[in-house]
């Protein structure tokens, strides 16, 4: 079981991903903006962060820099979940040295596979 933090401003998306994550036996945490997401990452030290790019204070790219820039958090893998155009997301993931992305709308199976792949676990 892993601890997974989802940073996303839209509650419906949080609810949907929470169902998927908890159904796989993982612990689920969420934050709805960048600064509370960063604080929660500090306090909870998650195994994986799922990150939306469009956040209401600082955006996901900026937050990923803050996360990667802190020695206590820099090794936590980050997967981007976003509605942004795929080519922009691909470049963002590469430039910001993130661990993967899924463009919305994505399937349940795609999210499960991505989480398992990044955490190094097998899909059941």
């Amino acid at each position: 079981m892993a601890r997974i933090l989802y940073i996303e401003d839209i509650q419906d998306n949080i609810t949907l991903v929470e169902k998927i994550v908890t159904s796989r036996g993982h612990e689920f945490l969420s934050a709805r903006n960048a600064e509370s997401g960063l604080e929660l990452a500090f306090s909870s030290k998650p195994d994986l962060i799922l990150l939306d790019l469009g956040l209401p204070d600082a955006d996901g790219q900026t937050l990923s820099v803050w996360l990667k820039g802190d020695p206590a958090l820099s090794l936590i893998p980050i997967i981007v979940l976003t509605a942004w155009p795929e080519e922009v997301v691909r470049q963002t993931v590469e430039a910001y040295a993130l661990n993967g992305y899924l463009c919305k709308p994505f399937s349940l199976a795609a999210l499960v596979n991505m989480i398992d792949s990044v955490l190094g676990t097998k899909t059941i």
Partner: protein, 290 residues
């Protein structure tokens, strides 16, 4: 549908923020805000909330909003958006007409706006309302990365007033958000002046925005006083990113054919999206919707 247009200053910043975020939920590049950020936006870009509007149906449902920035004889339409379920009801057109009427009532001679490239419905609405394209701009990002070579030349870091002094001498057009007035409205404006060993020189003005826990760079405006803009620009950016080696950077509204563009690309900037700037010249004092 009967559409009522209400001055935006009758709503709280939180109500306007919630409405704005709902209008952008399915946008090409969703960029939500919180009330603090919208408050800064209103302040920095001289948004006149009394002459900005919220559209409402006769049964009291909010439909969308639009904001008007005002600086002397020039105005800027921004944050125009309609809730997804209320599109194709005439709300967007009614909001635009309201902005144009309000601008005319203020004696505005010229109105600017920007639209994200490929937002076809908005672009065609603006064409229909008499706007014409005036420029194509890039919105670019730069992630922190190790600098391979030490920056060249002598950099002088500029405080707020000295940075503004440089910017106010800028000879070319700047879009509303990067204009000297916008940068003067933000306490986060800084800059640097560079002189290279061969005598070439230039300057860079930017915002260093502090959040509670970290800061980030944005609103970059670059000018080459002497020399090749791609070389002077590369060294200006090298100094910036060596000095602020852990900062994320967001460069908005860089002209598509800006001679400094190769410098941005050489430093690893990549394009997030493009914007089209459009303008409408007022020929009559009073605007009447057709």
């Amino acid at each position: 549908m009967t559409i009522e247009l209400i001055p935006a200053d009758l709503f709280t910043l939180q109500e306007l923020t919630d409405l704005y975020n709902q209008t952008r939920v399915d946008y090409l590049i969703p960029m939500p805000m919180n009330a603090d950020r919208l408050g800064e936006y209103v302040h920095d870009f001289d948004v006149d909330l009394h002459h900005s509007s919220v559209a409402r149906s006769s049964d009291g449902q909010v439909l969308g909003l639009s904001m008007l920035g005002v600086r002397g004889q020039i105005a800027w339409i921004t944050r125009l958006g309609v809730l997804p379920a209320s599109r194709r009801t005439g709300a967007g057109s009614a909001l635009m007409d309201c902005m144009l009427e309000n601008a005319a009532a203020l004696g505005i001679q010229q109105i600017h706006l920007e639209v994200i490239k490929n937002n076809e419905p908005a672009y065609h609405l603006f064409l229909k309302k008499g706007f014409v394209e005036t420029g194509n701009y890039l919105v670019m990002r730069h992630a922190p990365r190790p600098m391979l070579n030490p920056p060249q030349g002598e950099a002088t870091w500029l405080d707020f007033e000295n940075a503004l002094q440089q910017l106010e001498s800028y000879p070319l057009h700047l879009t509303w958000i990067n204009a000297a007035r916008s940068m003067r409205n933000s306490a986060n404006t800084e800059g640097l002046h560079l002189r290279l060993p061969n005598g070439d020189s230039g300057w860079l003005v930017y915002r260093n925005t502090r959040f509670t826990l970290r800061s980030t760079l944005s609103h970059l405006i670059m000018h080459t006083e002497q020399g090749d803009p791609s070389e002077v620009g590369r060294e200006l950016l090298s100094h910036l990113h060596t000095h602020y080696s852990h900062h994320d950077t967001y460069a908005e509204n860089i002209l598509e054919n800006d001679p400094h563009l190769p410098a941005f690309q050489a430093l690893g900037y990549f394009t997030n999206f493009s914007r089209i700037e459009m303008r409408r010249i007022s020929h009559t004092q009073k605007y009447t919707a057709s």
